[in-house]
Every structure is written in structure tokens, then in C-alpha cells.
């Protein structure tokens, strides 16, 4: 850890802003392409499940400007079937042809690719490809896909049950048997996606003979490079992946997609640059989907509302293929392992299943399983309160692990080193005047035509997963480390290279703050380089709230090594003892005699042999070092969200009237950027809770592949956010940082749902699903009224 934090914790304005605001950000579609670039267009299956009887490409291939039209069989010559590398008892592996051969398994799966001289011609060409499909019945719904007699998605996966995992503590049955109360509920979560405003795209440019420069709108440049080599047979050493500006990732761009392999392979094949840009329809059809989940949860509790035991049966819809690199079990195992949250739940059992269906593959979208598992456990906390006529906040407080008992290892073996569960809830309740709201909230909750309620979500947020954390979830080849190189240049300026790749998180700013403090440099002297596999050391890259923990940790360690070298060289030059040399503010000086010192430039000139000083005995030339940091299993952040909502009795629209957050992500690097992450996450969470849903019909036809039909929240749908922080630095990792990328979304979904449930509970409305579109609420209210009459 940096001894002296001048910049960590400061509201430094972002370095990224100026070029982005001037319109000078270079996103993948903004790159100047060589004039001989070929452009790809993919022919997508219009059917959820069909046999490809024949593909006639003749008419398309004859079009002016079309270089080739290739089918799955052609592409299979260049790219091996991709396989998610999961080893887990109960998991069945299967391969995916990057362009389908023989069978298509979801609407939008590519069946052919047109290689053309322009992107416009590519659109013409794909219209002319004639595919003869024999339509087959599809398994679409999570609820029915494993029923006997349903069409099988993959021959090797019986009953479409692709994964089943089980866990139980010894005492869970006894806990249920001995408890005076048991409640059971079924929670259904609707399917959503990350929907970054920049769709995906990539550009492959051959260089130096058989090497390839590969630009991609990705969050995982190093994993992508390894996968490109692995599945195409290219030498990894001859691939350079560069991540340009990325227009939002949200986990969606942390998968490695078929189009990347095809673009790469065709640039090798044609020995020409090849570019592919996705359009919005393709984005909605083919980028990973998430959250198509069903949770059956049973909770046993005593007369005080203290949970005695928890059982969960979790079903997740994995879609048609297990995606790279996380596979389709990430959501399944995630929910099973995270559901206990901040609570002292010691008796627990789960069955967690992933199901293959004829729908778009599921993957890692911001929050992964956590919005759903906290929808379930936080929904149960409210139900316990209602059953016992207790306040829902009080029930949570009675069940939380108090700070004095941390570190705490939860029932599935995850250690919470530090945190502030109780304090966060209490602070959030004060912020929103919780007791005042409860006093004002009339019994029927109907004021000025609106039902008002308040919803709480108290949760833990998994971040910075290390290798042991991935192994625990069956990901046998997923590294956990990230890495950094810190280099003082001959001029005394500092360049730091980090294995991450940003998609809007402000890494150039925050990592510079970390490096400046690690090294004792001035902030303006530090420049960050990332997202280029030719420049940066290997790492796991940027998803699952990793950067601060893993990249920050690596940079702190590398920076400290360089700082120690500066001290040794400076001590020699100053004829002082090493332990007397202080490094700060871009200078090394003898403690107490600040004027008796050297600038970084003067020290660097010695290190680079650019003066007449010799290096101290045993020192090597240069002034740089590398380090790798693999954090513990996970680093657990925590937060509380409270939403005050109003449900219009007439049109059933939900308005968020107030929204408060108390967040604890450990040591904060840049408070404004942290708040930005939380705000953006809440926006996605409110979207997920109230309006966003990817809809398939019973045939597996996708119903809403436009942004007119897949609703994203706009400025009139969202409230202002009141955010405060508690800082409980991690004691288990290097910097004390905890991730913050996903918490906003995780907390928002349950808080909004619980707020609506609270508003409507006296009507007998049971809120156990999302999204809560007005039509859904209207139906629930009608049904409740009918039940009561």
C-alpha cells in the first residue's frame, strides 16, 4: 500500500473527458481503415430451431462488390468449435460452430457470412443468400425445457439439463423442522441484456507478413488473444489485440463472440483487412442475454424473525450455447453462492440448475446473478416482516452479521473481511427519514391517486475475484490476476501499463492516481496505457468489478518496487542511507532535508546511464518493474439501497420519488467516479425492475429487437440519487479497494420491487417477478381485487 495517499481518495477530474467531448474518441467504427478492407455481413437464422437443408449463395456471390459468401462448413476450415472450459460435477460440455452447420439453435445464429467491398454491399448480399430451413420444434421456456419429450438443444445434453449443482449443510433439515415459521416463494426474473449504446465490432489488419493487428470492442483483450490463437491455430505471439475506446461494456463485451473469430480468420485467409460492425438488431438478438431465472426459496425463521435456515432451488436459462469464457453456469452458481448476502445464515441448501433452450446464449451482464438472488432473499426478509408484523428494516438488522463479528466466513466459504452491513442500513434509513415515512404512510397507502411504498435492498457485492474464486465456480482456465508495469522514463515522466481495458470507467484517471501514490510521483507526470496486448502484461481483464482490486493492487506493488529502486539509486547519489531517503512529489530526498534531493529525472538519468554517475552495486539499468496480483477468493463490498416509490392507481406506472444509497466499497480512489458507477448501475437496475425485457414467443421468435420495443430508461424515468459512503478498507487485499462496478444495479432491482410490494401489499398483491411493467401491475392488482371479492 502507498504510504502517503495524496491522490487516492481525491475527486480528480477525468482525463478521458476532453477528447471524448471533442468527438475525438476513437471507437472501433471510428478507426480509419485501409482502403482494401473487406466488410462482413452475417446471414442470421430467422428460426429458433431448424435444420439447414441447403444454402444457395450463388445470387449473393454474383453481386458486384461481393468477394465471397461462406457457410458454416467453409468457416469450419478456419475456426474450431468453441467450448466453454468448465469442469464441474454435473456440467456437460458442448461445442459451438462459430457459424452454424446443419442445425440452428436460436433466432439470430449466423448461418453464412458475406465478404464484401463495402458495408452497404454486405447488407445487399446477405439479403440474397437463400437458406432452406426445415423448421423444428423449439424448447424456449425455462419452466418447460426440461420436461420429458421436449426438443433437445444438444444431442449430448439429456433433457436440456446442462448443469446441476447441489450443496447442503448438515443441519438444514433439522433447522426447518425446529423452526416455528416457514415461508416459501417463487421469484421469476425477466430476461434482459447489457445493451451498450455502442454495438460490438472488430477490425483485423494483417501486418508484418503473418502477424495480425486485431481491434475489438471488448473488455477482455488478453483472454480474446489467447482464444483467437487457440481456436484458429494462429500463433498467439503474432496476434496483437488493441481495444479502442469502448462505448459501454457492462459485461456484454466480456464474452468472446463468434464474429471475432470469423473476422480474424478471414483476415488471415484473404490476407486483407477485414471489418465487421454489428447493428442494433444483431446486438439485441445475439449479444449475451441474462437474468432469465426462476428461484424457489424457502426460509425458516423464529418468532423474532431470525432466519434459521434457507433452501433455494435455482433455475437459470443458459440459452443455446455455453458462451466463452464464462459458460452458462456463471449465473447459476453465482446466485447459489451469493444469496446469503450480509445475513447470518448458517443452515443452507441449494439445488442450482442451468437449462439449455433455443434462445440467445446467456452470459455475464453487470451484476450477474446478484440482482435476482437479492430479489429473492430481500423479498423473503420483507415477507418475514409482514408475517410477523415487524418492520422490514428491523428484520434485516436482526439477521445481519454485525461489524464486530467480521471477518466472517459465510456458509458457502466466502470470507467477508470487513464491511458495514448494519451501519449502512442505519445510515440509509436516516437519509430517507425511514421512520418518518412509516409514520406518514397511511394504512391503505393511497395518497393523491398513488400507492406509496418504501423498498430496501441490503446486499453484498462480489468483486475482484481471484483464481480460487473462479475454480470454486468451475472455471478451470480463468486466471484471477491482473498486472502492471510501472516505468520512470529517462525524462522523469512515468508510464504505467496495466492489463485492463476500459469501457468508460475512467481508468486513465484512477490508475494514474494509484500509480502516483505508489511511486510518490506527481499525478500529472503519470500516463496510463492499457487495452493493448503488445504493450501490457497479461491479465484477466475488466469485468466483474475487478479493476480497482486487481489492477490497482498490481500497480501498487509494481510502483512500490520502482519506488524502492529510486530510493536505492538516490541514496547512492546523495551519499545517504537508503532508509533515510523519502520519495514523494516526484523527488527523492533525505528525510528532514527536502532541499537535499533529486528529481525523478536526475535519478532516471543514472538508471539509464545518461550521466556520469554509475549505478549502485547490483542494480540493473532502467527504472521499471512489473508485478502481478491475484487477489483472494473474492473481495466483498456491501451497500444498502432504499427506494421510495409511488404506484399510480390509474395507469399503474411506477415513479421513483426518492432513492438513497449507502455504499461501502472499501478505500475509494475517486469519489466522483465511484458515484458515477453507482448512478449508472441504478439506472440499469431500475430499467430491469420496471421496463426492460427480452421477449420470446413460444416458438422462440424474438419479439423486440429494436430500441422502440426493448425499452431503456430515459431521463424522465429516473430519479436523482442521494449517495453516501462508508469506507471499510479490505484487510485481505493489497490496496484495501473493493469493486463498485455492479452494486448500483444489484441493489436497485430488489429495492424497487420491494418498494412496489410495500406500496401494494395491503391490496393483497404479491410482487414476485420482474419487470413490473404497468400491464403486469395492472393484472396483479385486478387479480388481487378478484380474490378479495
Amino acid at each position: 500500500m502507498a504510504d502517503n495517499m495524496r491522490f487516492i481518495g481525491q475527486d480528480v477530474l477525468r482525463r478521458e473527458d476532453e477528447y471524448l467531448l471533442r468527438g475525438q474518441g476513437r471507437f472501433v467504427d471510428d478507426l480509419v481503415v485501409p482502403t482494401d478492407t473487406l466488410h462482413l455481413g452475417f446471414v442470421l437464422s430467422p428460426h429458433a430451431h431448424a435444420r439447414i437443408a441447403a444454402i444457395d449463395v450463388a445470387q449473393a456471390a454474383a453481386l458486384d462488390g461481393v468477394v465471397a459468401v461462406l457457410t458454416g462448413d467453409d468457416i469450419a476450415e478456419f475456426v474450431q468449435p468453441i467450448v466453454a472450459e468448465i469442469e464441474f460435477p454435473g456440467y456437460i460440455r458442448h461445442g459451438r460452430d462459430v457459424v452454424a452447420r446443419d442445425i440452428v439453435r436460436f433466432v439470430g445464429e449466423a448461418v453464412a457470412v458475406a465478404v464484401c467491398e463495402s458495408a452497404y454491399v454486405a447488407q445487399d448480399a446477405i439479403e440474397l443468400v437463400d437458406v432452406d430451413y426445415e423448421i423444428l420444434p423449439a424448447a424456449v421456456r425455462l419452466e418447460t425445457a426440461t420436461d420429458p419429450g421436449m426438443p433437445q438443444v444438444h444431442a449430448e445434453i439429456d433433457n436440456n439439463l446442462i448443469f446441476e449443482g447441489r450443496f447442503t449443510t448438515d443441519g438444514v433439515d433439522a433447522a426447518f423442522a425446529g423452526a416455528p415459521h416457514v415461508l416459501k416463494e417463487r421469484f421469476r426474473s425477466g430476461r434482459v441484456g447489457g445493451v451498450p449504446i455502442e454495438p460490438r465490432g472488430c477490425l483485423a489488419i494483417p501486418e508484418h507478413g503473418d502477424s495480425l493487428l486485431f481491434y475489438s470492442s471488448t473488455q477482455v483483450p488478453h483472454l480474446l488473444r489467447t482464444a483467437l490463437a487457440q481456436y484458429t491455430g494462429a500463433d498467439e505471439s503474432k496476434i496483437r489485440v488493441v481495444v479502442p475506446e469502448v462505448g459501454g461494456g457492462f459485461g456484454t463485451k466480456a464474452q468472446i463472440y463468434p464474429e471475432e473469430f470469423v473476422t480474424f480468420a478471414l483476415a488471415r485467409h484473404f490476407r486483407q483487412p477485414v471489418k465487421w460492425m454489428q447493428d442494433r438488431r444483431e446486438e439485441l438478438l445475439t449479444d449475451i442475454h441474462a437474468r432469465d431465472h426462476l428461484y424457489e426459496v424457502e426460509v425458516a425463521f423464529d418468532d423474532d424473525g431470525v432466519v434459521q435456515g434457507l433452501r433455494a432451488e435455482i433455475w437459470t436459462n443458459g440459452g443455446a450455447y455455453s458462451t466463452l469464457p464464462f459458460g452458462c453456469t456463471l449465473e447459476t452458481t453465482g446466485g447459489a453462492r451469493m444469496i446469503v448476502g450480509p445475513y447470518r445464515i448458517t443452515e443452507y441448501a441449494y439445488v442450482a440448475r442451468a437449462v439449455a433452450t433455443h434462445t440467445a446464449p446467456a452470459g455475464a451482464y453487470r451484476g450477474v446473478a446478484q440482482p435476482t438472488c437479492f430479489m429473492a432473499i430481500e423479498g423473503m426478509m420483507d415477507r418475514i416482516a409482514r408475517a410477523l408484523k415487524l418492520d422490514p428494516a428491523e428484520v434485516r438488522l436482526r439477521n445481519m452479521v454485525p461489524t464486530a463479528e467480521l471477518p466472517w466466513t459465510n456458509v458457502v466459504g466466502v470470507r467477508y473481511d470487513t464491511g458495514s452491513f448494519v451501519e449502512s442500513l442505519q445510515r440509509a434509513m436516516t437519509m430517507i427519514d425511514y421512520s418518518g415515512f412509516r409514520t406518514r404512510q397511511p394504512a391503505d397507502r393511497l395518497v393523491d391517486g398513488k400507492y406509496r411504498g418504501i423498498g430496501i435492498c441490503s446486499f453484498t457485492e462480489v468483486s475482484g475475484t481471484g483464481a480460487p474464486g473462479w475454480r470454486a465456480r468451475g472455471l478451470v482456465r480463468m486466471p484471477g490476476f491482473d498486472s502492471g508495469i510501472v516505468k520512470v522514463e529517462p525524462t522523469g515522466k512515468v508510464t504505467a501499463y496495466v492489463s485492463h481495458a476500459h469501457a468508460g470507467q475512467g481508468h486513465y484517471t484512477t490508475f494514474a492516481q494509484v500509480v502516483a501514490d505508489a511511486l510518490g510521483a506527481d499525478l500529472e507526470d503519470v500516463n496510463i496505457i492499457e487495452g493493448d496486448t503488445a504493450a501490457t502484461p497479461y491479465g484477466t481483464n475488466t469485468f466483474a468489478s475487478r479493476s480497482a482490486v486487481t489492477g490497482g493492487g498490481a500497480l501498487l506493488r509494481a510502483g512500490d518496487k520502482v519506488k524502492q529502486k529510486i530510493r536505492r539509486i538516490a541514496a547512492d547519489m546523495l551519499e545517504a542511507a537508503v532508509e533515510d531517503v523519502v520519495v514523494e512529489g516526484g523527488r527523492a530526498y533525505v528525510a528532514g532535508v527536502a532541499q537535499h534531493g533529486l528529481s525523478f529525472k536526475q535519478v532516471a538519468e543514472t538508471a539509464y546511464a545518461m550521466n556520469n554517475q554509475s549505478l549502485p552495486e547490483g542494480e540493473t539499468f532502467g527504472l521499471e518493474d512489473t508485478d502481478f496480483y491475484d487477489p483472494p477468493l473474492v473481495t466483498m463490498a456491501n451497500a444498502v439501497h432504499i427506494a421510495q416509490v409511488a404506484v399510480d392507481a390509474a395507469d399503474c406506472r411506477v415513479e421513483i420519488e426518492r432513492y438513497v444509497v449507502v455504499h461501502d466499497c472499501g478505500r475509494i480512489i475517486n469519489p466522483t467516479i465511484v458515484d458515477g458507477q453507482i448512478q449508472g448501475g441504478i439506472a440499469q437496475g431500475i430499467g430491469e425492475a420496471l421496463m426492460e425485457e427480452m421477449v420470446y414467443d413460444d416458438m422462440g421468435q424474438f419479439q423486440n429487437a429494436t430500441l422502440l420495443d426493448y425499452l431503456l430508461p430515459t431521463s424522465e424515468d429516473l430519479p436523482n440519487f442521494e449517495i453516501e459512503h462508508i469506507e471499510s478498507p479490505s484487510i485481505d487485499n493489497v490496496g484495501g479497494f473493493k469493486g463498485v462496478g455492479e452494486g448500483g444495479l444489484i441493489g436497485a432491482v430488489p429495492a424497487v420491487l420491494n418498494g412496489v410490494a410495500d406500496a401494494l401489499c395491503d391490496l393483497g398483491v404479491n410482487i414476485n417477478r420482474k419487470p413490473l411493467k404497468p400491464s403486469v401491475i395492472l393484472k396483479l392488482m385486478r387479480e388481487a381485487r378478484e380474490r378479495q371479492t
Binding site: E16, L20, F27, P196, G504, G676, T714, S715, E716
Partner: protein
Amino acid sequence: MTGKTEVSVTVNGRKRHAMVEPRMLLVDFLRHELGMTGTHIGCEHGVCGACTVLLDGRTARSCLHFAVAVDGAEIETVEGMAGRDQLHPIQEAFHQHHALQCGYCTAGFLMTTVELLKRDPDPDEADIRRALTNNVCRCTGYANIIKAVAAAAAAIRAQS
């Protein structure tokens, strides 16, 4: 589609001419013919607002217009906002208030804000929220954009 038509427009005060296919979208014309890639494409069906430009002074979705159809028009894009050394007050307010993250949608928000503040130099929060429904941002949750627009309005009023 080989027949090309000449298009002449004024972009950020400069006359520009090119021969384009009749079906070329205005946004592709700006980005790929003129190399002005600050205007982005988010949906190509007129919903997200990332491609918003000013067309004869009013916001327009450049993904919904053909280049040939705007022959003779005055177009303003994000590239025309800042001076060499100084950001436009709206851009500066976005910077000060952390109103952008990935920056992909930002040009559209800036152009919408230019139009809003021309029409209403002193909008309240509800006015700003209404105007910004023109554009979708997936990163920020809008709160900081709304603050930035209010701050930009105040800065511009103070200047004039």
C-alpha cells in the same frame, strides 16, 4: 447501386461536397465520407439519439436522413463546438460534472443541449429532463448530465 449524386452541405461552417450513393445515410456521409467520426451510430432506427446533429439549426437523427436529401443544408456536429484550446461551455460543464463515462452517446447529448439552451436559456430540471428524453445514455443514469446542462445554462447566461 452505382449511380452517385453530388451532395453539397455546410458542416460547421465549411462547405463540403461529395459524390454519394442516393442511399447513403447522412451519418455515414459525415463519418466515412467526411471523416467526422464524432457523431456516433447507436441504433440506426432513430431511437437512441447518439447520431444527433443540428440540421438547419434543429436537432435531427442523422441515421434517419439520406445525405442526398439534405443537399444545401447547414449541419452542425460535435466537432464544431470547441475552440482549439477551450471547450464549449456545455462541454466544460459535462467535464466538471462527470456527465459522461464511455462517451459514446455524448455527442448526441451535446447537440440536444445546444438546441435546448438556444430555445430556453434558463431551463429548470423538468425542462432539462424532458429535452434529454431525445437521447439514451446507458452509463450515467442521467443525473450528472442534468446537473451539467443546468450548469452550462448558467455559464452561458453569465457570459452574455
